[in-house]
């Protein structure tokens, strides 16, 4: 039975390991992602902890039989004051270990994120993916997301 919980200190190392799997996966599908060595400690220090220490950010862990099988980071972002919507939600990362794909962990984490966004009066959510990540693109489209922008590159 997969359960979704708020991340605590005890989950940090597991999230770091899942993040590294997420990075290696990206490296395999698109050679533009080049990671020379294991950067888990930098990721934990410079990214994950910032999320865990902020009120405007959410860190979730998906567990199966107490084992961390996925994680998600989400945050509230502000835009130009004065607009009707001064904030929106952003899903920074979401990953599920490959052996647990298609078991509903991603959908459960997304539902929890949406609940948190609703509690914070968020009416719109954004995220971005690697263009070649068909698994992610298909997942997000199934959740009702539509393409907003493309980021492009050219080798020069």
């Amino acid at each position: 039975m997969i359960e979704i919980v708020r991340a605590e200190e005890k989950h940090v190392a597991d999230i770091g390991t899942l993040w590294w799997e997420f990075i290696v996966f990206h490296q395999n599908i698109d050679p533009i992602y080049i990671f020379i060595d294991d950067q888990i400690s930098d990721y934990i220090k410079n990214h994950l902890r910032r999320f865990m220490e902020s009120q405007d950010r959410l860190v979730l862990v998906a567990r199966d039989e107490q084992k961390a099988i996925g994680y998600a980071l989400a945050e509230i972002r502000r835009v130009t004051p004065g607009l009707k919507r001064e904030k929106y939600g952003y899903i920074d990362q979401m990953a599920v270990t490959e052996s647990h794909w298609r078991e509903g962990a991603g959908k459960k984490m997304f539902d929890e994120i949406v609940k948190w966004f609703h509690l914070n009066d968020i009416k719109r959510v954004e995220l971005d993916t690697t263009a070649r990540n068909m698994v992610a693109n298909s997942f997000w489209q199934k959740q009702g997301f539509k393409v907003l922008n493309y980021t492009l590159f050219r080798e020069i």
């Binding site: 719109r124 263009a131 070649r132 492009l152 590159f153």
Partner: protein, 163 residues
């Protein structure tokens, strides 16, 4: 055609005007449906947006590789471009990113954007970049076609959903 570097103080009004247009055009469809570009401008100009933009621009210009130019024709500004550079020492690579690019409406569809991008690419290459990054909206077919023609490939897709 005359290409000149910008002066943040002297060109302040034009820079704000152009950046506001690029902001609006790259914003989400719901925002563009809720506000006309003029209404957005009125709100943006009174917000902290202009100071944030000018501060980011000034900060980026401390890097001598940064490209911020006005393209003029007969004394009138017809295009604006802002390109920033990022080093990835761990990958031994440098990327140049087109943060803003704009051609004034009267000069659109005349190949000016193509000229600007080719010019920027040449400068970026001379200044050590190995990658040129840009962005385009999902509904901006003209921009997508232009980027495809210039050999750009998509590597990130931005999604949105109304809750």
């Amino acid at each position: 055609m005359n290409i000149r570097p910008i002066d943040i103080q002297k060109d302040r009004q034009k820079l704000l005007e152009f950046h506001c247009v690029t902001n609006y055009e790259s914003s989400d469809p719901a925002l563009r449906k809720a506000y006309t570009s003029e209404q957005y401008r009125e709100i943006w100009i009174r917000s902290h947006g202009p100071e944030e933009f000018l501060s980011a621009l000034a900060k980026s210009m401390k890097d001598s590789r940064t490209i911020v130019e006005f393209w003029e024709n007969g004394g009138s500004i017809i295009a604006y471009v802002w390109v920033t550079f990022t080093d990835w020492p761990e990958y031994n690579a440098t990327g140049a990113e087109i943060s803003d690019i704009l051609v004034v409406p009267e000069f659109q569809r005349r190949g000016i954007a193509t000229q600007v991008i080719k010019h920027v690419e040449e400068l970026a290459c001379k200044r050590g970049a190995t990658l040129l990054r840009s962005g385009t909206g999902s509904e901006n077919v003209a921009s997508q076609e232009l980027h495809a023609k210039l050999g750009f490939q998509t590597y990130r897709v931005e999604f949105e959903k109304e809750l």
